[in-house]
């Protein structure tokens, strides 16, 4: 009906033109009146009585006829019907898909996976990654590892300094990385975590090659986070986070600790860090650990614990400034270069001078003491006021027997034993 409409209107126009003798008739449509016939004023007198005048314009009049109105109603009705029909057909079309929903969802899942894996191939090509070797051992070897995000961000003229790293349960379970701030310690930690993670997501990695024994738990404590708004200090947060780590270790865990003990006094910080590293070393699961610290006192731990090794991020000391080479090398770093960094930050000469003097004084006095194991401590049951005995008594009394796990009990026993020294005159 709607399509034939034009023809009908043309015929109507022809008929009316002939019957009225008005040559310049027009049939048009607008939203206000619908269909109407327009007649120029010069022909006004020829308009038949049956026509109903609807609108007067400057040089024309507009009329409707019965026939035209009937026609209009039919057209509008037809258009309505078409619209309803369209709706119904569309609904049927949509409903036709419903039985396929599950199949298409399954497709979508597979296609999403294909999309990710294809994307990984593009990624590897664009960023020069290589395929990792995954095994079910417990070691981790990374050759020429890079930090994926940092290398993405540095300008094209610079290139990221790659580093090798090895962690195993024989002689290198815990790597202690010392070095000045800004030297790249944190980057080494993070890139290790990211490389392992990327490999276990199924992607190529930013490294020359890597052999990765599957890691089932990844713990990181990287950087201070001041949740002051939640009412916790840096130190408190740190302790919470570290507690969460030591309570959940497993054989394949990878632990990354960055600047533990920073939020409190130096001696407290060193002591706590020392205790945590000891715990990780002695733990039956022997979790692989990277420990970045500015406390180079901790470098002494490698003497006493066979699976702790010292590394540092190399720094070149020129006459007046310090060059960060960002290369991981064996051996601890002697200084923390804090004063050099202050200088680079633009601290006034007076402050720098005072700092250097203070540093010399402190280093001289600190060298006299040491964190050696004092083998002269013996247990003598008849010296009841012996401070060591007191300490041991306190430690035993403080134990919450009801809440000790077997492993923790063994750890406590081990610690007590160490306090008593190697001489067991019991």
């Amino acid at each position: 009906m709607a399509r034939g409409g034009k023809k009908v209107l043309d015929q109507m126009l022809k008929r009316e033109t002939e019957s009225t003798g008005i040559s310049s008739l027009k049939i048009s449509y607008n939203n206000v009146f619908g269909y109407y016939i327009e007649v120029r004023n010069s022909h006004k007198d020829k308009v038949p009585q049956t026509w109903i005048r609807k609108q007067t314009l400057v040089n024309a009049e507009r009329y409707i006829t019965e026939e035209l109105k009937t026609y209009e109603t039919r057209i509008v009705g037809a258009e309505d019907q078409i619209s309803q029909l369209e709706q119904r057909l569309f609904l049927e079309l949509v409903e036709g898909f419903v039985p396929y929903i599950e199949a298409i969802q399954q497709n979508a899942r597979l296609l999403a996976e294909l999309d990710c894996l294809c994307g990984f191939a593009s990624l590897a090509k664009t960023r020069n990654y290589h395929c990792p070797t995954i095994n079910d051992g417990v070691s981790l070897t990374i050759v020429e590892g890079r930090h994926p995000v940092i290398e993405y961000q540095i300008p094209p003229e610079e290139s990221y300094v790659p580093n090798d790293l090895e962690l195993n349960k024989n002689d290198q379970q815990i790597i202690m990385i010392t070095g000045p701030n800004m030297s790249g310690k944190s980057a080494v930690l993070r890139q290790t975590a990211l490389i392992v993670l990327m490999a276990q997501v199924g992607s190529y990695i930013p490294a020359g090659r890597a052999e990765i024994g599957i890691v089932d738990k990844l713990f990181t404590r990287v950087g201070a986070s001041d949740n002051i708004s939640l009412g916790e200090s840096t130190f408190m947060v740190e302790m919470n986070e570290t507690a969460a780590i030591v309570n959940n270790l497993s054989e394949r865990s990878l632990v990354l600790l960055d600047e533990i003990g920073r939020g409190t006094s130096t001696y407290d910080g060193i002591s706590i860090a020392w205790a945590i590293v000891t715990y990780l070393h002695e733990h039956p699961y022997q979790p692989k650990t990277l420990f970045a610290t500015h406390y180079h006192e901790l470098n002494e731990m490698t003497e006493q614990y066979e699976r702790i090794q010292n590394f540092s991020v190399s720094v070149k000391e020129l006459k007046d400034e310090v060059l960060f080479l960002r290369k991981l090398v064996s051996g601890g770093s002697a200084h923390s270069f804090g004063i050099h960094v202050a200088k680079m930050a633009g601290m006034p000469q007076f402050i720098l001078g005072q700092s250097r003097q203070m540093l010399e004084k402190l280093e001289a006095s600190r060298g006299a003491k040491g964190m050696e194991r004092d083998d002269n401590m013996q247990l003598n049951f008849f010296q009841m006021d012996d401070p060591l005995l007191e300490e041991i008594r306190e430690q035993i009394m403080d134990l919450e027997i009801d809440h000790l796990t077997p492993i923790e009990a063994l750890m406590q026993l081990n610690s007590l034993r160490k306090k008593l020294g190697k001489k067991k005159d019991l």
Partner: protein
Amino acid sequence: MKQYNEIKVKYPDALLLFRVGDFYETFGDDAVRAAGILGIVLAKRGAGSASETELAGFPHHALETYLPKLVRAGERVAICDQLEDPKATKKLVKRGVTELITPGVTLTDGVLDEKSNNFVAALHVDKQVHGLAFLDISTGEFQLTQGSQTEMAMLIQQLDVKEVLVAKPMKKQIVESYGTQFPSYFLEDWVFQQNYATELLQDQFGVASLKGFGISELSAGVVAAGVILYYLNETEHAQLDHITHIRRYAREAHMWMDPFTIRNLELIYPNAPQATTLLQVMDHTKTPMGGRMLKRWLAAPLTDLKAIQRRLDVVTDFYTHPNRKQRMQDLLQALGDLERLMAKVATGRIGPRAINQLKNSLLLIPEITEITSQSEQMALQFFGKGLNPCAIGQR
């Protein structure tokens, strides 16, 4: 106003958009909040009289602009439409709430992030066992699991769940364990019940027993899943044909990463506003559903050697055959968001253009299958075989 109050009483904690003619109106406190969030004029009705009420409104066709703003401001929004043609009735036109939009249950395009799932979860504690179920109504993804509190907390964070349904009596315990930042919504205790949940699930999937899904042993998780279905009904989401099954989330198959780790490593969310995340560096996906999946993958690396190797094998195949990779990516690019389109089909929110796109996308599938079959890589071929050509695509 009486009609308004009757409806408002049923949705006390939602912002009620009340359709009046060509406008959506809000009244009282709702109006004050809406005016603040949307920047629209706050007016007063019956000024000076005893029944003075604030009101604020906007034209109905502006809903798509204003609704996302309200949802993003954290409001629950109830949309109350006129249920019949006002011209057809002489009395008060019938009105009813057609949809309740909550942070975890939303189908509105303007609110959803293309590259992100939007999960609602339910948590049920049965003695020491914590059961968790989660659902994205815009894709139909529905999973459950159970375990310790730490594990559930980790999962909630990994999935970036927007709303967690909890039983009212648990309120104190939740605040103690998870803090006040936890996006919880409390429901009546009676909803968290084994038989009721099982029934709801069986009804939804049209099965006589849940054994087929491998979840019948996870009783706490099942209760949580049932709670979610109940909630969908309460929020007037009855068209759920696209929620076709539920799966067990295999926690042990994924690397343990505590919330600190995910944040510290800036995997998905940056710690500073301008910082780049690993996700940004790694995202070379061509479809929104791929983007969403990558995000889920990064929060849950695998721990099974074979599964990891399978993925690496496919990557290697594409890496060593760049032409194949290019063809595949061209096809993927043309697919669009199949996942969310199907949800739109099920919930009746799809338009003609989208249906056309759906058809075109489905027609591409045989070609994709063909590409995968060219590879010698078993893992890649497996994909091709899994794809269903869906004859309907050809109509």
